[in-house]
Amino acid sequence: MSTLSRVSNTLSCIDLTVTGALDATTVLGIRQESAKAATDGPILVLLDVAAVTTVGASGVVGLLEVLHLLRARGGDLRLFGSSAALETTRLQAHLGQVTRIYGTREEAVDGGLGPGRARHLAPGFRWHRLFPRRRRTLGWS
């Protein structure tokens, strides 16, 4: 079925909250709830991440799978809330490139249809960047 025919400017919303660790177990629960909510049509899932205390790669991957699931059904996932754990983790760099964590629920509802804000400017060319020091990533802090 066409996902385009199901998309709408005024998606119905459901609110979910994640508390504690953002890991494989918690995101599996979010995924199941999102899938259930999306059975009747496109849905906007608003996920409050303010109470997240730790973040794992499994958690972030799981969130992107939830985004995938909802988008495939014409809906969307928006994260909101201020979480120190999410802001300080190196995963933020990965997550921030793909999706935004909005400050408030209202901003999240407004989401992609509000005025665009620059994430960052494209870096200019620098010769020294051709020879960067190797950075190793032993998982996620």
Binding site: T3, S5, A24, V61, L67, H94, R134, T137, L138
Partner: protein, 631 residues
């Protein structure tokens, strides 16, 4: 490895490289027969390649690591055990599943049935293990064979650790207890244990046991922190796999969106032209969609968040389509396809993120290589804890080796370890040595052709005095063999391994060509599941006909060479040396005779893992008494 043994290995390694460099320098500097360059150059190139392989073997063995007993497994770990199956019989899978279920360390067992067979689901329920198959989201999408099957299961489970077993690999009860302790070190991404096959007789006619690989070679790689993940009999850390998948996803996300937008614009332009002829009223829809693509490209240049860009694109497409309702039928399928390919959530695929590498049919090696490149560590635990089944006929064995080699060469051409950022030099060499070993097919061709050309036509493939040749070649050759034996550390099947490395030259050449065609020409490589039972047409000389032709040519050319020497037409000593060379070639190639005649294991091969008592009742539903579910 004891200190004395290590000193001996290192001494031999230095000798191999030194003698080899002297020999090959001499060969290139003054012995190439330029008037017969067409045979002389391939031969000297093959010898140079062999020196390279010997050097890489020496480097591998230089640092071989025998690990002390592992630390005990900490309690409280959560583990998912995956048994991957596609078309294996139920009895085989259940035997593995029951043994996996009964492992001592607490865990969840899952049958990953890529064949989506209803009987498997009910059998899994009866024995109290989980059952996972692909959902409808996979319909019409790329499935990525075993890697896709495991990725699908990863997205549905939550254990901190994932043990992967092939359908025919039956674990001992202590398997998890023996390996989980290694994960106390937080940088360890996976632990690999040996693959051991109980259905292989001592003479191992198909060269299945690979004791050299699952022994000194893996220990050597482990010493350089580059132990290989081999797809089964291993435990992996979920966070490492997810970190790998996530990194790969975000690294390519912007680039992916750019190229998808470009392709989308091109598709919309084609649609626009087509609608001009067919349905002009629908053209404004496509014009608005192209304007939306332009806006998305601007936002991408500005660095806006990808999820917002692609969502806005979707809304714009929707608004454009609604503006001309009668055009929906003509434009929506194409707009949908563009949106799916652009969407940052990869809605054109079944999963957004693929932790196990899906770019090759040897997903295990590619995944391990990228984990190492990210800085994760690995462990090779040298203890047989899982008992499996090897191919029982030559055809299945050849198909399996071709798949390994083609997948490995696919990675070699597509994702060469020499250019992969993050690997240490030693890790690069460890991956390179495995990949380049499959180029041996071309070297073997030279080693077969050169003596034939001399014996038949009298054309010298090199110009040198036999005495000087012996003085320089023999030290290199003998030191190589000595290193092979000493570093092999008593492994059985060393000679058998050399025989197969040489005799499988048609397979290696075909696999190299397949790997290259997959990368450079976009040809599809098929993941052929290894048959777990004897195939009716799998035996016979037709499967090794190229090797038989090579042997016949060698024998005939030897006869011609002897006749030429007897009549004084050919010099005696060069002819004798060449005949010795032919004898060595034949000794290596003759392994295919036994393989072609092999009828499978006899009664003396006994499965070390007993058949579970409950298996007959599960296989025969009339006597069914379902046990309480574990999940």
């Amino acid at each position: 490895m004891g200190i004395h043994k290590q000193i001996l290995v290192r001494t031999l390694a230095v000798l191999v490289v030194s003698f080899g460099l002297i020999y090959i320098s001499w060969r290139w500097s003054g012995t190439v027969a330029w008037d017969a360059w067409w045979i002389s150059l391939p031969l000297v190139a093959a010898e140079t390649y062999s020196l390279g392989e010997s050097t890489l073997y020496a480097v591998t063995m230089w640092n071989a690591r025998r690990r002390p007993p592992p630390p005990p497994a900490l309690p409280g770990r959560t583990v998912d055990v995956f048994i991957a199956t596609y078309n294996e019989p139920l009895e085989l899978v259940l035997k593995t599943a029951i043994a996996a279920r009964d492992m001592d360390y607490p865990h969840e067992t899952w049958i990953l049935d890529d064949g989506n067979r209803s009987g498997f689901a009910s059998a899994a329920r009866q024995i109290g293990v989980g059952y996972i198959t692909r959902g409808p989201e996979w319909d019409g999408r790329q499935r990525f064979a075993k890697a896709g099957n495991v990725n699908n299961a990863l997205s549905m489970t939550t254990g901190e650790f994932v043990a992967i077993l092939d359908a025919d690999q039956v674990p001992e009860a202590r398997f998890l207890d023996r390996v989980l302790g290694y994960f106390d070190a937080e940088e360890v991404a996976f632990v690999q244990t040996p693959q051991h096959f109980w259905n292989v007789p001592d003479r191992d006619p198909l060269g299945s046991q690979a004791e050299l690989f699952y022994g000194p070679i893996q220990q050597g790689k482990d010493g350089w922190d580059a132990a290989f993940f081999c797809g089964s009999n291993a435990v992996l850390r979920r966070e490492a796999l997810m970190a790998l998948g996530l990194t790969r996803y975000t690294r390519t996300a912007t680039e992916h969106t750019w190229s998808a937008l470009r392709r989308g614009r091109s598709r919309l332009q084609d649609l626009h032209g087509e609608l001009g002829r067919r349905h002009p009223a629908a053209m404004p829809v496509v014009e608005q969609a192209m304007a939306a693509v332009t806006r998305a490209e601007q936002q991408l240049r500005r660095g806006d968040v990808l999820a917002e860009i692609t969502f806005e694109l979707r809304v714009s497409f929707h608004a454009a389509a609604l503006a001309v309702p009668e055009a929906m039928e003509d434009v929506v399928p194409e707009l949908d396809a563009v949106l799916e390919s652009v969407d940052v959530a990869h809605t054109d695929q079944a999963l957004a993120i693929h932790p196990m590498d899906t770019t090759t049919i040897t997903e295990d090696m590619a995944t391990a290589m990228h984990l190492h490149a990210m800085g994760w560590g690995s462990v090779y635990h040298h203890e047989v804890l899982v008992h499996g089944l090897a191919p029982e006929d030559v055809s299945t064995m050849l198909s399996q080796r071709h798949r390994w080699a083609a997948g490995t060469m696919q990675v070699f051409f597509n994702d060469n370890p020499l250019f992969l950022r993050g690997l240490t030099l030693a890790q690069r060499l460890m991956y390179l040595s495995t990949m380049t070993s499959y180029l041996n097919g071309f070297a073997a061709m030279s080693y077969i052709a050169a003596p034939v050309v001399f014996l038949v036509a009298g054309t010298y493939p090199l110009t040198a005095s036999p005495v000087v040749f012996f003085c320089l070649f023999l030290p290199f050759f003998l030191s190589c063999q000595l290193l092979f034996q000493v570093a092999g550390n008593g492994s059985k099947g060393l000679w058998r391994g050399q025989q197969w490395s040489f005799a499988l030259f048609p397979t290696w050449i075909a696999a190299t060509c397949s790997g290259a065609a997959a990368v450079f020409l976009g040809k599809h490589l098929t993941f052929s599941v290894t048959a777990k039972s004897k195939q009716a047409a799998g035996r016979g000389f037709q499967h090794v006909r190229l090797q038989l032709v090579a042997m016949a040519v060698l024998v005939v050319s030897s006869g011609i060479g002897i006749a030429r020497a007897a009549t004084g037409e050919a010099p005696l000593y060069p002819t004798l040396i060449t005949l010795a060379w032919v004898a060595l070639d034949l000794a290596l190639l003759i392994v295919v005779i036994g393989a072609a005649r092999y009828r499978g294991p006899g009664e003396e091969q006994v499965d070390p893992m007993p058949t579970p008592d409950e298996l007959p009742s599960v296989l025969n539903p009339t006597t069914l008494t379902p046990p309480p579910a574990r999940r």
